[in-house]
């Protein structure tokens, strides 16, 4: 029986009326016996609710916990229970030129990607929502299609395109690849805000003397900012963690952190991988936090 199933009325009340006293007795008895039973059921439901939630949280956080243990444990292999705490893998990570180069390069690519994806995705969302474009739905489908396509194919296709164009594997090519797969996030989050946008706010601004351009910067942009920003954060994280698209597009000497980690994994499997993961998790977290604090993720806007 599900924990919150409605209680069926007790059978006792529907039968022929017995003597008044005995009915009252039974009512009392039944009320006493029923209430704790219902309470127990609610408590059981709550326990189940908590258990499921905790289980989901553990499932989400356990991999991160394992990575952290791996990063701090001094032995060069995953060992449980850990034999101690050491920062040797962090030292190794920060001392390794390849890793440092990859880390900074990844940040660079992620920042450029975020800028491009936010600008292009934001504009695309505006055009789709407002532009009165013929075939806006098709445009939207095309904008979102990189999400449907396996990213490895996107990477391969871009790689082949660059080879055909004979441009090698430049930084802008990698950024373009990342932008391609991050634009859908910006488009989606911006469109969500634009869908709830009250067009009369823009009319009010126009009526008060704001030119279309000023209306955009004074009213539209501040109000869609939460959506754009949420998309930008997605774009940053997706780019920073991007593996399949980068796989084909990184050029010798300019490899992103996930690619470097993957190649390192093939030859050395020690705590440096864990340390690198911890550092990149923290970095991604810090960037999100910084964006939130500076540009303001928490919207006061209730549209």
């Amino acid at each position: 029986m599900p924990p919150f199933a409605p209680q069926t009325p007790s059978q006792e009340f529907s039968g022929a009326l017995p003597a008044a006293t005995s009915l009252r007795d039974r009512q009392r008895a039944s009320a006493q016996s029923r209430r704790p039973a219902a309470g127990k059921r609610i408590r059981a439901g709550r326990a189940l609710y908590l258990t499921v939630n905790i289980a989901v949280l553990i499932f989400l956080l356990a991999p991160i916990a394992i990575v952290v243990v791996f990063a701090l444990n001094p032995t060069p292999f995953i060992q449980f229970p850990p034999v101690g705490v050491s920062l040797r893998w962090f030292q190794k990570f920060f001392a390794a030129r390849d890793f440092m180069h990859a880390l900074v390069f990844s940040l660079e690519v992620a920042m450029l990607t975020t800028a491009c994806a936010t600008l292009l995705g934001g504009c695309a969302a505006l055009a789709i929502a407002r532009g009165n474009l013929p075939g806006a739905r098709i445009v939207l489908a095309v904008m979102l299609s990189p999400l449907m396509l396996p990213a490895i194919l996107t990477g391969l296709a871009l790689f082949q395109a660059y080879v055909l164009l004979d441009v090698g594997r430049p930084l802008w090519g990698l950024v373009a690849g990342h932008t391609l797969v991050t634009i859908p996030y910006v488009v989606r989050t911006t469109l969500a805000v634009l869908h709830n946008f009250d067009l009369r706010l823009e009319e009010a601004a126009r009526n008060l003397g704001a030119s279309p351009g000023r209306t955009f910067f004074e009213v539209t942009l501040p109000l869609v900012k939460p959506g754009v920003l949420a998309g930008a954060i997605f774009a940053f994280i997706v780019s920073f963690d991007q593996f399949p698209v980068s796989l084909f597009l990184v050029s010798p000497g300019n490899e992103t952190l996930p690619i470097t980690l993957f190649n390192y994994l093939k030859f050395d499997l020690d705590g440096t991988i864990g340390a690198a993961s911890v550092v990149s998790i923290l970095l991604a977290f810090l960037v999100v936090l910084a964006l939130d604090r500076t540009v303001g993720l928490r919207a006061y806007v209730k549209l």
């Binding site: 009369r200 009010a204 601004a205 126009r206 009526n207 704001a210 109000l223 006061y300 806007v301």
Partner: protein, 357 residues
Amino acid sequence: MSASIEIAGVSKIYDGGVRAVDTIEIDIRQGEFFSLLGPSGCGKTTTLRIIAGFESPSDGAIRIDGADITHVPAHKRDMGMVFQNYALFPHRTVAENVAFGLRMRGIDKQAIAAKVKAALAMVELSGLEDRRPAQLSGGQQQRVALARAIVIEPRVLLCDEPLGALDKKLRQQMQFELKQLQKTLGLTLVFVTHDQEEALAMSDRIAVMNCGRVEQIGTPVEIYDQPLTRFVADFIGDTNIFRGERVTSDAGPALAAGHGLFLALPASAAGTSLLSVALRPEKISLSSGDTETAAAASGARGTIESTNFLGGAVLYHIALDSGHRVLAQQPNAGAVFVPGRTVKLDWKAADLVVLKD
């Protein structure tokens, strides 16, 4: 400062051929409180949006003080507008909302501050400058919207059902305040509403609209007492409408409404053989049917079906002997006819208004 508006043969046809507004001719005078009244979908809001410049007319022209502004963009029209749900900028404070239009006009900061202060004082919102719209009540938001629109000293103030979201008591208070403000400032005000009582109470003149067309333009009294069309008579207040053939009796022209009911027509009533006439409920006087005076030409006999006690008046639903159902309203003078009672109805032939269909 205030301007006159001329709506000259304006039509708005949407894709698919829907005529939202159909060849409208309205002249709004300077300093006039002018209402566009009609049911939803009648084209009144579209007309207002064409005046504001949010929609461009498919045909016709809009002139302000005689100057054609049909193709002037909205932000250069110098009109204030109060929107149905106020459209306050949620990311700005009350003061910033009110200052917006002034800022767009490049006025210096000190002058803006002074004007904002004065405008907020006018709508009695001093002290709430730093609140955000979401922190205000509906009535307060309404005042902010009003202050934001008038602070720019617009040539015309446009109001799109501005009081629709308020409860009745607050609405009446705001009606009064808005009217006062309009008079004090001498504003030309175009007011869109579907509430006929509101329009009658506030307007200098009203245009009653239906299906994209103007049915009648006139003062509230004209609109109420001399409705031109069946739609206007029906839409404004309660009314009794009779339809039938025009006949000539010994006492003059009359309307044969069927089942033996004849209504004496005013001598002026000319026209075709098939007619509709309107008779306002309060123009009918009821008397006890006991006194057997000879049945006048302009009168009938009926039975009270039900009564609505309105406080100052009583509204009776009466079934005439001829089978017609009519409404009659009497001032509350103490005695109330009870349902089932037979009564005699009298009215003056001159109170019958002949309608265009």
